[in-house]
Amino acid sequence: MVVLRLYISGNAPNSVRAIANLEAICQEHLKDGYKLEIVDVFEQPVRALADGVLVRPSLAKVSPAPVANVVGNLSNKSNVLLALGIKGNVR
């Protein structure tokens, strides 16, 4: 099970794009084998500092180790797959 956390800022355009991009990637490569938490800076302002993630949107792979981060709207699919550790599946 891959645990992911996506940090976004409300309905801002890159945040919306990031959600759509990530969901497409997960559907294709992880099927049901992932858990995604979306953290909105506007809904959980304190959480932003606690997690130390300053740039929105950004994706964090929480587990399994190693922990990895991708910054931006996740339109670069290979970067995302690399961070998720499923690079081998790229066709």
Binding site: S9, N11, F42, P45, A48, V55
Partner: protein, 563 residues
Amino acid sequence: MNPHLRAPKQHSSGMHATRGFEELIRRLVKGASELQAIESGQVDAIIDPATGKAILLPEAQEALREDQARDRSLVRLSSDWQWEKDKHHRFVSCEGPTIGSSGFEDKTIIGKRLWDLPFDNMSKVDWRAHRSELARRAAYRDLELRSRDDAGGVRYFSVSGEPIFDRQGQFKGYRGTARDISNLMQAGSVSQGETGIARAALDALSAQICVLDSSGSIILANRAWRAFGATKGCIGIGVPEGANYLTLCDNAGEGERVNGIAIATGIRQLIAGEREIFRYEYRCNSPIGRCWSTLTVTRSPGNSPVRMVISHETTTRRKRMEQLTGLDHRDANRAPPANRVLAAMPREEYQRLLSGLEPISLAFGDVLYEPGDSIRYVYFPSDCLISLLTQVEDHMALEVGLVGSEGMVGIPLALGISTSSVRALVQGTGTAMRMEAGRFQLEFKQSPSLQRELYRYTHLLMAQFTQTAACNRFHVVEARLARWLLMTCDRVRSDQFHLTHEFLADMLGVQRVGVTNAASALRRRKLIDYSRGNITILDRKGLNAASCGCYRIVKNLFDGAQR
């Protein structure tokens, strides 16, 4: 709170990617990949670790500004006023049109709380309920308020609000909208179009009926309700349109307090959607004496606008009847019926019949039908006794049949005849269940069980008729009197009953002196005793021996049929 509406304002200085702004970004963001993402326009915001606030990049700011504008315009389209209140529930802003001193005028509302405004449809209890909602920081929807504008016109408002919290989760106040729903309410309350028809229909009903809005105000009352005002006995019934029924119940007088509280509680549960129907039966004092009332309150389906329909009926007569007969409808559903025809019905059919049956108390001397009368009701005696009498010109009446709990009065109806050929006279005071003739014919038609029981009973009644005819012709008065006393005893299920000699003479078709002689003879043989019309059977066996064989013949027939 919805912080993204605020975000651009807080950082409006960074709207343009000025040099200072770029420097700030570079100071906060160190990583190459982050910088690259920012430069390629893939980032919306950066958190300033010093303040914890989000710094929005220009494109995101613009998008959120559009979002905000869209939200505002939608809110404006769906409401007349948009307001905010501080943590003490005082209005700090209210945007929208101003209409006289109606309650949502910007100039007067600021600094006031909702319950300081001149709304007249909320009782103390209602405001307490609303304030406890606020104390729980609950969002509220469509709170209906009523006030009068400068011109004296009634205006209705629907107010909704939700709590606001700051970033640390501290309660800041409420934000919400208000709508002027006067037109909607008036369309729902005054006689226009369909409402006019509804009002006419309600006016035609004999029960007192009114319609309440969600605050408990009476927005419509039928004619019977308005006319009821004169008697002023039953909590709030008859108060005019516009009055608040719940307030009346809350403030019911000393003797009515418990009923008032119970009714108000029931109606509030309906308003809150916790129940669909509320029924309450209570006793109250009216100028015409103690009376019973039954209140039925139902809720209009759906949520907007919530309407309660109250129907009030005086049930004193029914209640007295129940008390008189010791027969409660609820118990009647469970207890087996005393009448044997009804008792022989399958349970399901009896349950159906029951809805058409009403208990009635019959007193000695009551006449149910005269010969030639059309039969309006059939009677199933429970513990009363009814004589069927025939009259020949000027001669005295002669009893041809006796009906008790084993049968039914009104047999011609079962045979398709709607008039009675005999006089049906109540001999023994007691109770019976009666059914209206039309309903009976319908039930009889569709119930094979009822047909079977009544045909069987008709056969027994005919046997009784023929035996009585023969008996009256051939047997002596003493034997006939003994038979008659035994038959009465069987039917009232008691060894004691009240009958005068005069009455007995009528029954047996003889002179009064004949009855007196026969009764004296039976008393001498210590079979019976009597005093002032109270007859006691002392020796049933002996009386049986003294009676003619007709009693045993008919009794055996009946007993055989019952088995």
